[in-house]
């Protein structure tokens, strides 16, 4: 068995060598190709996956080839017999390797002698080309990966005016901070400084924009630029939101479910003073005798008169209003020093003081007193809301301009805080369908808020209120995306204002 073992060891070594070279080549190639691809795509290379994948693939190749080439005794014996012209001598020798029978010992001896005469070409390292091919492939791909990794990265396309047909393409673009952009940012700073934004916010916003001017010259890719600009947009928006508490207060008030507190909430949440006035007046009307509000509706007017005569309506109204409003103020978690918070508190306190005097007033006098009280209290609201609106407008302007200057699409820009949308209680719609103004249709017929109408977009019948809310949302979305020009914006805004001031637009 000496010669056989010698041949086996040589074959084993050859098998390990060949599978090692080919397996190694496959591993290097498997690692280099993804490195090359990721680098060319300008993406960060997932090294861990590349290495694990390459090791796995290389290991599998190594194992597979070794399994095919490994000189197992029977396999080697068969191949040696073949090379010796048959006779099954080696196979028989291997099978009876342990036997001491004379004839078998002789057979082994004879086979060993014949194996000695086997030409060395039988067990020499064969198919060298496979190893060379694997090594070459590994070298080429490895070199390719190295070259690609160390190539300068500014070989990409220049201009930023490309279509946004492919986001990936944009991500690949290089970025260069232009003089024009610097000038535009400086103009923006001037605008902010001249704006009516709160001083603290002005400082924050200006500091953010100046930070951009300082940082962007060092930025070379669009991705980095997006990161910086979006950071500024988010920072400005957060700063404004931290100062403006209208949204939180309005939301808390509308959440109480109390109709008058809800109206006041809608007033506070209104992003325009005109709309504020509407909701505010509606709130005031809620404390007046019913006959003052809805003339000609006898059954309810009579009931209201009875209640008023007993002095219960106003008192109950004010008490419930006070409870709901107080809980809303607490729930909003807004700083009591906030101007809007103060304005609400002021209205609440005065109204609460007036409650005790109701029995001394006639209906007309009471209505006048309510009007007077609300008129007195409107100024703090107007001042606080004007400041918030100024903050919002300046923020919106800054964000819009930043998008323009750096060519950001709406998808690329971060989502900013949304405006408050008025919330209507069921009480607002109840029994008022007869006098519903505006609405959809020819003008000859006004749709009640819960009547089903055909929605051409979906082909289904939906509630009028739902459809109008959907239309309003679409309008605001389009407005935010800048898809509506100024002229059309005015017309649409007037349309929705008309609907909302007539108090019958049920927006959810």
């Amino acid at each position: 068995m000496e010669n056989f073992i010698k041949i086996k060891n040589r074959k084993k070594r050859n098998a390990f060598l060949r599978s090692g070279i080919i397996g190694g080549g496959v591993a290097v190639t498997a690692a280099s190709i993804p490195v090359m691809v990721y680098t060319l795509m300008d993406k960060s290379v997932p090294w861990l996956w590349c290495i694990v994948g390459a090791v796995l693939l290389g290991g599998l190749t190594f194992g597979g080839i070794l399994l095919c080439l490994y000189p197992f005794d029977k396999r080697l014996a068969r191949s040696l017999d073949k090379s010796m012209g048959g006779g099954e001598k080696v196979q028989t020798m291997v099978e009876f390797a342990e036997s001491d029978e004379e004839m078998k010992v002789l057979q082994r001896k004879d086979t060993e002698e014949r194996l000695n005469a086997v030409p060395s070409s039988v067990y020499q390292f064969k198919h060298v080309w496979q190893c060379i091919a694997a090594a070459c492939l590994a070298f080429v791909t490895f070199a390719g990966a190295m070259i690609v990794s160390f190539l300068p990265k500014d070989a990409g396309g220049g201009g930023s005016g490309g279509n946004d047909s492919s986001q990936n393409q944009q991500q690949d673009e290089a970025f260069a901070f232009t003089e024009f952009q610097v000038a535009a940012l400086r103009q923006l700073i001037e605008y902010v400084q001249k704006s009516e934004m709160a001083q603290g916010l002005k400082d924050t916003t200006v500091a953010q924009i100046e930070g951009l001017i300082n940082d962007l010259p060092a930025v070379t890719t669009r991705n980095e630029m997006l990161e910086k600009v979006n950071g500024v947009i988010t920072a400005v928006d957060t700063a404004v939101e931290n100062v403006n508490n209208g949204f939180e207060l309005a939301t808390a008030m509308t959440m109480t479910g109390h109709p008058l507190v809800g109206k006041l909430g809608n007033a506070v949440g209104a992003v325009e003073l005109d709309r504020f006035a509407t909701f505010y007046n509606e709130c005031a009307d809620g404390f007046k005798p019913f006959t003052e509000r809805q003339e000609g509706i006898e059954p309810r007017a009579e009931a209201a008169e009875d209640e008023f005569a007993e002095g219960k309506l106003a008192e109950n109204n004010i008490t419930q209003f006070s409870i709901a409003l107080t809980s809303a103020l607490v729930a909003s978690k807004v700083d009591p020093a906030d101007p809007l918070y103060q304005a609400i508190k002021n209205l609440h306190d005065k109204l609460f003081r007036l409650r005790g005097a109701i029995s001394h007033y006639t209906e007309a006098r009471w209505a006048n007193e309510i009007d007077r009280l609300f008129n007195e209290c409107v100024a703090p609201f107007t001042v606080a809301l004007s400041a918030e609106i100024a903050n919002d407008e300046t923020r919106d302007y800054v964000i819009r301009k930043l998008k323009e200057i750096f060519g950001l699409s709406n998808e690329e820009a971060p989502e900013i805080s949304k405006d408050f949308v008025a919330v209507y209680t069921e009480d607002d719609n109840r029994g008022d369908d007869e006098i519903h103004s505006g609405g959809l249709g020819t003008g000859d017929y006004n749709f009640p808020s819960d009547e089903l109408i055909y929605n051409p977009a979906t082909g289904e019948h939906v509630r009028y209120g739902e459809l109008l809310a959907e239309y309003y949302n679409r309008y605001t979305d389009a407005l935010q995306k800048g898809e509506i020009d100024e002229e059309l914006e005015m017309i649409l805004q007037a349309y929705f204002d008309l609907l909302s001031t007539s108090k019958k637009v049920p927006i959810e």
Binding site: G86, G87, E88, K89, Q91, T92, M93, E95, F96, S99, E101, E102, M103, K104, V105, L106, Q107, K109, D110, T111
Partner: protein, 328 residues
């Protein structure tokens, strides 16, 4: 030391066979394969059925072989009127010196080491069956008394495949007793020339005795020790099994062309003879080639082809070739 001894024995084996072949060549021209196979059968201890047209040297071969092996030789010419006792011998009444009559067994021609049963298919089945016990068990039983034959003992039978009138084809059981069926082909032109030239000088056989019965028995013992690896053993068993069309996993060839297959004796014969053949060729182990080469003489008379094979003009040897291919 033992190995050295064995090695010497193996060398002696090959040399003896070579010497026998050389001596036979003095009397028999050509027929190399037939001579080889006859020698294999003799060493393996089997009987051989030689089939060939008259005049191709069957009888001469056997006679020369008897002389070369220096074995007691007898020839029985089988005829329809040959009686079993003519073959085995019989009890005869013999007067002793004191005048009494004693029944004495007089041995028949079968009591030799090498028996030539010439034209065995001309004898009646009764006589043919008398050969059965002798061929298989190497003994003769007459009147309740068994008479063993001396070892080695071989029967070399001949039969003429052409003249079938008035013959009694050997039954399958009897055929199975023959280890080989060898077909003695008509000689080639060169061989024919050699035969004619040889017989111009003398018609006598000139081959000399080179080995004896004892040597043959030693050779048989030695051959039995030749190793056969499992794969070849399995292959051989598969080959014999594949001749059976009735088996569940029968080979396609057997299903298509074979009427009935070979007995287990075929497998025994194949392995035994393959060992001898290996040694004859100077090998210490049995190879596929040994088995394949011997498959023809071993299976030829043991399998019966069906009409489908005959229809397709296939001979038994063709079918055996197909079975070998399928068993690989």
């Amino acid at each position: 030391m033992e190995n050295m001894e064995k090695e010497v024995q193996v060398k002696a084996f090959s040399e003896s066979i070579a010497t026998v072949k050389a001596e036979l060549a003095k009397d028999v021209v050509g027929q190399k394969d037939v001579i080889d196979n006859v020698l294999i059968a003799i060493v393996a201890g089997g009987n051989v059925l030689l089939e060939g047209v008259p005049g191709v040297g069957k009888t001469r071969l056997v006679r020369s072989l008897g002389r070369t092996l220096s074995l007691p030789f007898s020839r029985i010419q089988f005829t329809p009127d040959l009686m079993p006792s003519d073959v085995t011998g019989t009890n005869v009444a013999e007067k002793s010196e004191d005048g009494k009559l004693n029944m004495v067994f007089r041995k028949g021609p079968i009591f030799a080491s090498l028996v030539l049963a010439d034209e065995i298919n001309r004898a009646t089945p009764k006589t043919q069956s008398a050969m059965l016990e002798v061929m298989q068990e190497h003994k003769v039983t007459v009147a309740g008394t068994a008479y063993p034959l001396e070892e080695p003992f071989f029967v070399l039978a001949t039969q003429n495949p052409i003249e079938q009138d008035g013959t009694y084809p050997l039954p399958e059981a009897q055929m199975d007793r023959f280890m080989f069926k060898l077909v003695v082909d008509f000689p080639s032109i060169d061989e024919l020339k050699g035969i004619v030239n040889m017989t111009q000088i003398t018609m006598d056989e000139t081959a000399a005795a080179v080995i004896d019965g004892k040597t043959i028995l030693e050779m048989r013992e030695l051959a039995a020790t030749v190793p056969v690896m499992d794969e070849i053993m399995d292959y051989t068993m598969r080959l014999v099994s594949n001749t059976h069309p009735e088996l569940a996993d029968a080979s396609a060839t057997a299903k298509k062309y074979v009427k009935y297959g070979a007995s287990p004796r075929a497998a025994q014969a194949l392995i035994t003879c393959a060992k001898v053949r290996a040694l004859m060729n100077g090998n210490y182990n049995v190879s596929y080639e040994d088995v394949n080469a011997l498959a023809y003489p071993v299976l030829r008379h043991r399998i019966k082809i069906n009409y489908a094979a005959i229809n397709e003009h296939l001979t038994v040897d063709d079918v055996i070739g197909l079975l070998i291919k399928e068993s690989k």
